[in-house]
């Protein structure tokens, strides 16, 4: 587009220039905006493409899926794929199981990590820094290293075959969440705590009554992250659940993958259904999620 075309030159020089300047600035802003939107739309299309592909595949027949070139949209929308998927394995039973585990894990993570981080952020005790470094160091240990010893431990205390190995650890803190919470606590003014202590409040009271509400965004962040973690966990349930009726959705989804064939349409339909709660959760909690991830503690400034 030629932006200067419609601007007549020389006439009443001064005000025109001003106007022109103003106009072109407005234009520039508009163009800038359009550019930003184009980039944003392009990036979100790229990000959403796999989702769209999943949805489209979930509605196709296998004959259509294996054919080339692939079709962008299904020739006929086979909604019955979804009905088949939820019947192919005990979908709703597995969903209940997954929800049960997830609910406890979220509660455990939110309470324990907030509690532990409060100690690290607001209470002075000898060896605090070393202990904190140790906690962070656990993040460096890869999960595979601890997998078998942990499994043997849980076997020996008789927890294999129950949900306990999946739930109980979340009540004992996790390094990343502790770090996240601690950073958030750092942004909370110490005077508030001192004032409460002056009034005779102990740490338990301060934590549960003052800090929990103040750190809501961070708590919600942890909630969402541990929801995702537990909801999508595959290896944990795989190892510790021994009876098929206690399986979770992620294990159920795998039943569409066989040694030689994969039923892509049902797998994708199942994956779509399993993803819905995660997407809903993200939309509802999006606002808090972004606040909570702000490790610089936006409230301080």
């Amino acid at each position: 587009m030629d932006l200067t075309k419609d601007v007549p030159a020389n006439e009443k020089a001064e005000p025109k220039v001003k106007k022109k300047h103003f106009k072109s600035r407005k234009r520039q802003q508009l163009i800038g905006k359009i550019l930003v939107y184009i980039i944003l739309i392009a990036v979100s299309l790229v990000l959403l493409a796999p989702l769209g592909w999943m949805l489209s595949t979930s509605l196709k027949s296998m004959e259509e899926i294996v054919s080339f070139p692939p079709t962008l949209l299904p020739e006929t929308f086979r909604w019955e794929n979804y009905a088949f998927t939820v019947q192919a394995f005990p979908f709703f039973n597995y969903m209940q199981n997954t929800l049960l585990i997830t609910a406890f894990v979220v509660a455990g993570n939110v309470l324990s990590n907030s509690f532990i981080a409060y100690g690290f952020a607001k209470i002075d005790f000898p060896g605090k820094n070393i202990l904190f470094a140790l906690v962070l160091a656990t993040m460096m240990v890869p999960g595979f290293v601890t997998m078998i010893p942990q499994y043997i431990l849980f076997t020996q205390i008789g927890w294999v075959g129950t949900y306990l190995p999946l739930i109980v650890p979340s009540f004992f803190g996790s390094a990343f969440y502790i770090f996240l919470m601690r950073q958030f606590y750092m942004s909370v003014n110490n005077e508030l705590i001192e004032a409460a202590q002056m009034d005779g409040a102990n740490h338990l009271y301060i934590w549960s009554r003052l800090m929990m509400p103040l750190t809501k965004p961070a708590l919600i962040t942890i909630g969402i992250m541990s929801f995702n973690g537990a909801w999508n966990d595959f290896l944990g349930p795989l190892l510790y659940i021994t009876r098929e009726e206690n399986y979770t959705l992620q294990i159920g989804l795998q039943s569409f993958q066989n040694q030689s064939t994969t039923q892509w349409n049902y797998l994708m339909a199942g994956a779509t259904l399993v993803m819905i709660p995660t997407i809903l959760l993200f939309f509802f909690a999006q606002k808090y999620f972004i606040e909570g991830m702000d490790l610089t503690g936006g409230s301080k400034g």
């Binding site: 294996v66 949900y163 306990l164 338990l204 030689s260």
Partner: protein, 455 residues
Amino acid sequence: MSTIAWKKHIKRGLILTSTPLILAACADDAESDPAGEDTPDTEENAGSENSGETVQLEFWSFWGSGPRRETIEAIIEDFNNENDNIEVEYVYQPWGDIWTKSLAAIAGGNAPDVIVQDINSVRQRAEAEQATNLQQFIEDDSFSENFYPQLWDTVIYEDEAYAVPFNTDTQVIFYNKDAFEEAGLDPESPPTTWAELEEDARALDIQSGDDWEQIGFYPRWNIGPDVWALNADEGVSWFDDEGNVTINTPEKVAALEWMLEQQDHYGRDTINQFEAEFGSGVADPFISGLVAMRGQNLNYYTNLRENAPEDLNYGVFRLPEYEEGSGHWTWGGGFVLEIPENTENPEASFEFLQYLTSTEVQERFGMNSFDIMANIEANENLTSHPDLEEQGQEMYQMAQESLETTVITPVPLTAPDYIPLVNAEIDAAFLGEKTAQEALDAAQESVENLVEQNQ
């Protein structure tokens, strides 16, 4: 604030922190009977000894849906009905991950009674004491004769059996009969030697400008260089019978050179482009008519049956001979049934294992899954089974023929994890970084080193 009010708050705080723990404890009860319709039974090793009558067995496999699952469940139901004193429970485990889980379960000492395991690693598990020695239960020496000899070989560790073969597979080439006709080839006489294969492939190639509309045949698609190499070397894989490393033999070098020529013919870019489009295994170039001949496991037949359009007119031929008379050598894999170490009822488990590998049951499993079974007689019966359609019978006839020259390549105890070493060198050759001779020489050397370290 009064002290009473404070106590109240502390109490609340305590309740707040302890509730989750109590809840977690409750969860145990909640989950052990989630549907609320199970008859209460003991949690661990349900009633193995205490009832004295019925032995409970747990059986793990990765058949999670479709005909395999339906069939195995029906087979188990029949077994349970026939045996008053054994009750088998089938538990599905996800494909691939079943072995992660079984490894943990065996290490933790709460393994199931019977597991379907990979045929290539039986010796490793026998050596690591993860599998029960079955020799003590095999009363009849002719038991092993029920199975293809190369399959039975894989379960032997120090002259004793540690597993029983269940099913297998063999690599063959599927071809599009209509494409043969269009290219002026006789669809009823597919190629029998590499030279003929190449000749037919050239006839089937269709190129328009720089684009390939139809690829006659590219050997690396779904058949590995290792298979072509053992085909050229008269059935000798990367290791010979004595365990010597036989990677850079002249025949294998020639085989790799031939594969590289095929890559050059189509051009590396063409190959890469096709692999990008089909590498994920979702879209199928054979069904789509882009590839006229395609190497595959014979079990690919199930995919074609389920997913190919009705009018796809296809056939199968054995892997061609390197030179006339050198033999249609090919490769196969498969699965075995194993009883993990330290389970409570290995005897009952073996009884179940015998049932699963009996001719009748093998026939039934094969008929519903089109798997090539380990039991020779079962496959023989399936070649003319009245309940199978003609093409199904033909598949089993092909299986019978191809299995005569099918090599199974269990991982030698002296060379665990040798495969990546070899593949890295072969990839270098395909990338043009090394000649076939250089690549296989290097692979020979590094695998020899590996063997030396493990001896």
